[in-house]
């Protein structure tokens, strides 16, 4: 009889239009690092939200430490010593670390006033015990994303969690921070904690996990000992078919400069400099990648290229033509394709059908609009059907499906289909595969490379360094709005780029390590 910390048996959960969990089984042993692997939309987060009490399961039983429990809300989960670190941190930015940690169960002295002294001591002690290196008095707005995550971990430890759920913890971290997180997870284990790691990154599973449960389309496929399987095995279980890992591509055949950014300075509404004197050339037939940690000016930069963010100074030249002052539509006509990072906000109109989203940038042109602006639905539906087929967009009702009802991955495929169909001279893609499953990533990478081979200039912004290394021909590393280095992908390694992402300039002496 094995000792289980968590047993979830036959869990089902339906949302309107989708069965997110279909009789899922999950057994996590005490004091193990258990990975929960699955593509996006496989039901990992739903399952963990049920465990944490954010959702209630439609059916199934949950046992914690062998006892059947009803977890009706997160407070009940906390009482059962379950802690969760969400993908998006829930911290108050102008509060200190300690204040954030005690939030919700503020300690009071005998007069009923807030008393943080003991709490602060405890935070300090826990931080040292688990090697988290967090300053209890620092304000959240002053700490890095990696430290924010540690504050979240501390929060669970402060609440005496024995079971810690980490939801896609590495999505926002630099490679160095990822390594540190892996050490923290190991330390948590050695201190007797049980860790559930939600991820779709196989490398991390191999690095820290003892066992791994694979979910696919809402069903639990298998639970395996990580030591006994390869990354390839895991990937196949996750996707349900053989996958090709490294993106195959021919060497780039770069030609003329298509997109030229000259001394761009971008200030935000408050006057803070987001992009600082940035110059970059993107040539036809190459994929230029911008590597960097989230929040270093990438969003402002790509928005500005699309014409949505005003430049303070500098110039943008597309194919010899100055488009610095051109509006968004003019730039689209000139050949700027743009896949925005926040696809819900900028990429699609959720209440529109797939067809309407496909023609969002070209609706006013032939053949979609005829004389007097009369719109014909036939060409747009035909085009959409073609793109749905070609890009494998899974939509319940074909081209009349509301875009908002698609899964994130399918929405992204739809946007990429639209942009590639526009056949732009330069394709600017922010976070091409964030939240996509392995199959979709493979496909989208292939399409991006095909665009490159067709002579297009491609600019990719990604916070996932693996993706940049895998996909791009040249890498520009950005930190605090400045490009620190532009190198051919052959001439750099992850470690060097990771250091630059953290703001260290590449040493002129070169490879002296």
């Amino acid at each position: 009889m094995e000792d289980y910390a968590i047993e979830m048996i036959g869990i089902s959960k339906a949302f309107p239009g989708i069965l997110a969990n279909d009789k899922v089984n999950l057994s996590v042993r005490k004091n193990e690092v258990h990975a929960l692997l699955g593509e996006n939309g496989a039901g990992k987060s739903t399952l963990m939200s049920i465990l944490f009490g954010s959702y209630s399961a439609d059916e199934g039983t949950i046992k914690i430490n062998g006892r059947e429990e009803k977890i009706k809300d997160p407070n009940a989960a906390t009482a059962l010593k379950i802690g969760m670190v969400h993908q998006h941190f829930k911290l108050v930015h102008n509060y200190t670390v300690t204040e954030n940690i005690v939030l919700g169960q503020e300690p009071r002295n005998r007069f009923g006033f807030l008393d943080l002294r003991d709490a602060r001591k405890r935070v300090q002690k826990l931080s040292e015990q688990y090697g988290l290196q967090v300053d209890p008095d620092a304000k959240i707005e002053d700490v890095t994303v990696g430290q924010e995550q540690r504050v979240e971990i501390l929060k669970t430890l402060y609440r005496d969690a024995d079971i810690i759920i980490l939801d896609e913890p590495t999505a926002v971290l630099t490679p160095q921070e990822i390594d540190e997180l892996m050490d923290i997870i190991k330390l948590l284990k050695s201190e007797g904690k049980t860790v559930v790691l939600i991820t779709h990154k196989l490398k991390e599973i191999k690095a820290v996990a003892d066992r791994c449960t694979v979910l696919r389309r809402g069903k639990s496929i298998d639970t395996v000992d990580v030591a006994g399987v390869t990354e390839k095995d895991l990937a196949e279980m996750m996707v349900g078919r053989a996958v090709n890992f490294s993106t195959e591509k021919k060497p780039a055949q770069p030609g003329e400069v298509v997109l030229s950014l000259k001394d761009l300075v971008i200030e935000d509404a408050l006057g803070a400099v987001r992009v600082n004197n940035l110059s970059l050339d993107v040539r036809e037939g190459e994929i230029m990648g911008i590597a960097g940690v989230d929040g270093n000016g990438q969003s402002e930069l790509v928005h500005a290229i699309n014409g949505m963010y005003p430049l303070t100074s500098g110039a943008i030249v597309l194919d010899g033509e100055d488009i610095t002052r051109a509006g968004v539509r003019r730039r689209i006509q000139q050949g700027v394709g743009y896949v925005p990072e926040d696809r819900h906000k900028y990429g699609i109109v959720k209440d529109f059908s797939l067809s309407e989203n496909v023609i969002l940038k070209t609706y006013y042109q032939e053949p979609f609009s005829g004389r007097f602006g009369y719109m014909d639905t036939k060409p747009m539906d035909e085009l959409t059907d073609k793109l749905i087929e070609e890009f494998d967009v899974r939509a319940g009702k074909g081209h009349v499906t509301e875009a908002g009802s698609l899964s994130g991955g399918n929405q992204q495929k739809l946007i990429i289909a639209r942009e590639i169909n526009l056949s732009p001279k330069v394709l600017v893609i922010a976070q091409p595969t964030r939240g996509l499953d392995v199959g979709a990533i493979e496909y989208i990478h292939k399409r991006i490379i095909a665009e490159r081979d067709a002579g297009k200039a491609v600019l990719v912004v990604s916070y996932d360094l693996d993706e940049i290394m895998n996909l791009c021909d040249r890498i520009a590393t950005i930190s605090k709005g400045q490009i620190l280095d532009v190198s051919d992908v052959k001439d750099v390694n992850e470690h060097e780029i990771g250091l630059m992402m953290a703001g260290e300039k590449k040493s002129k002496a070169g490879s002296d390590e």
Binding site: S12, P16, G17, L19, N306, G347, L360, Y374, S405
Partner: protein
């Protein structure tokens, strides 16, 4: 099994059904209220039936005049409903229908009194001028919003009062103006339709009906069938995505407010040239513009919905005197209208209920 989940929206979920339920609920509450004040609610429905069909159930007599009046009353409701709806589809809240209506009415009566009295041309000029004036009045709001980010709610409310007092100033200068009216309009400016008058026993029903039909078709066509409407709807649903896709968002806002104003301006012209024989020096608002907000909400800003909701409001308005003659307080219609709007606001509650039902269906489907 997923194909079962994505089948087309069930009857209960369609927006139209929700509006219908809301209206029925409003009437139900109205009925209870009438009972509470000790009157017979049947009389209320008799009045409504009479306003709708012209048939007096008590006396067994048919008077088609009521149908004509109901239709005529509905005209400004429908048009002001479109004024609100057109802006709402672009994500704007046009509370300025009243002001746009007043401006349209004022310009129409000025042209009617001062314009060249050419048969067939005169009234068209007056109507066209009113439409342009309404569009201008709405357009100001659009420009303020698009260029200077002035909240359209604030600017429309203020412009309503500017419109009211401007209208008084202008109307005082018109021929024969006293404290409440001007000279009679020349025949060439009126929208009277002899044929309608004959078949509806001399109701005020007039050529404005044709203009409304054109407006309904135009609204539907612009919104649903043109690239202009596409850009406007995209802006209304998701301004950021519209901007990112190169849709001229600032222009969309101005255009939509101008078109919204044009609808209300047309309403003003039809009311003054169709139902009045003389110009008005108004001292207060007619409230058609404000009621238009409710009409658009009930009609869900769709062409057919707004038309039906406008007709409903027309019926209720025409039923008021009929209720009074049956000892039902006429204010009950206003209460019903108010309740309908409140229930519309509670729509999200119904939506949540539907979500819950759907989830249950899926679950049972999963077990089967």
């Amino acid at each position: 099994m997923s194909k079962d989940l994505t089948e087309k929206k069930s009857f209960l979920e369609s927006e139209g059904t929700v509006s219908l339920l809301v209206v029925l609920l409003g009437f139900l509450c109205g009925t209870i209220l009438v009972l509470l004040v000790g009157r017979n609610p049947l009389n209320m429905y008799k009045a409504i039936v009479q306003a709708m069909t012209g048939f007096d159930i008590d006396r067994g007599r048919l008077n088609v005049r009521y149908i004509g009046e109901t239709l005529n009353y509905s005209v400004p409701f429908i048009l002001c409903g479109f004024s609100m709806a057109f802006a709402a589809r672009v994500g704007l809240f046009n509370i300025g229908g009243e002001g746009q209506y007043i401006v349209g009415m004022t310009v129409a009566q000025a042209v009617a009194l001062l314009g060249p009295q050419i048969p067939g041309v005169h009234w068209m000029m007056a109507v066209a001028a009113a439409v342009v004036a309404g569009a201008f009045w709405g357009g100001i709001v659009g420009i303020l919003k698009a260029k200077y980010e002035v909240s359209e709610v604030v600017s429309t409310i203020m412009l309503n009062y500017i419109a009211l007092y401007l209208s008084r100033m202008v109307s005082f200068k018109l021929p024969g103006a006293n404290t409440f009216r001007t000279d009679n309009f020349p025949e060439t400016a009126k929208l009277t339709n002899d044929f309608f008058q004959q078949i509806t026993r001399y109701s005020n029903l007039n050529n404005g009906v044709f203009l409304v039909v054109i407006a309904i078709v135009l609204y539907w066509f612009i919104m649903e069938k043109t690239s202009l409407g596409f850009g406007l709807r995209a802006t209304g649903y998701n301004k950021d995505a519209a901007l990112c896709s190169g849709i001229p968002v600032t222009r969309s806002i101005t255009t939509s407010m101008a078109i919204a104003g044009a609808f209300a301006g047309l309403a003003g012209a039809i009311v003054i040239l169709g139902s009045f024989a003389h110009g008005r020096v108004i001292s207060g608002m007619d409230n058609y513009g404000f009621n238009g907000i409710a009409v658009a909400l009930v009609g869900n800003s769709k062409a057919l919905g707004v038309t039906l909701a406008g007709l409903l409001f027309g019926i209720l308005k025409n039923a008021q005197p009929l209720m009074q003659s049956r000892q039902i307080p006429k204010e009950i219609t206003l209460i019903i209208q108010g309740l309908i709007v409140v229930f519309i606001a509670l729509r999200s509650g119904l939506y949540l209920f539907q979500q819950w039902r759907k989830t249950k269906q899926i679950k049972s489907g999963g077990e089967a």
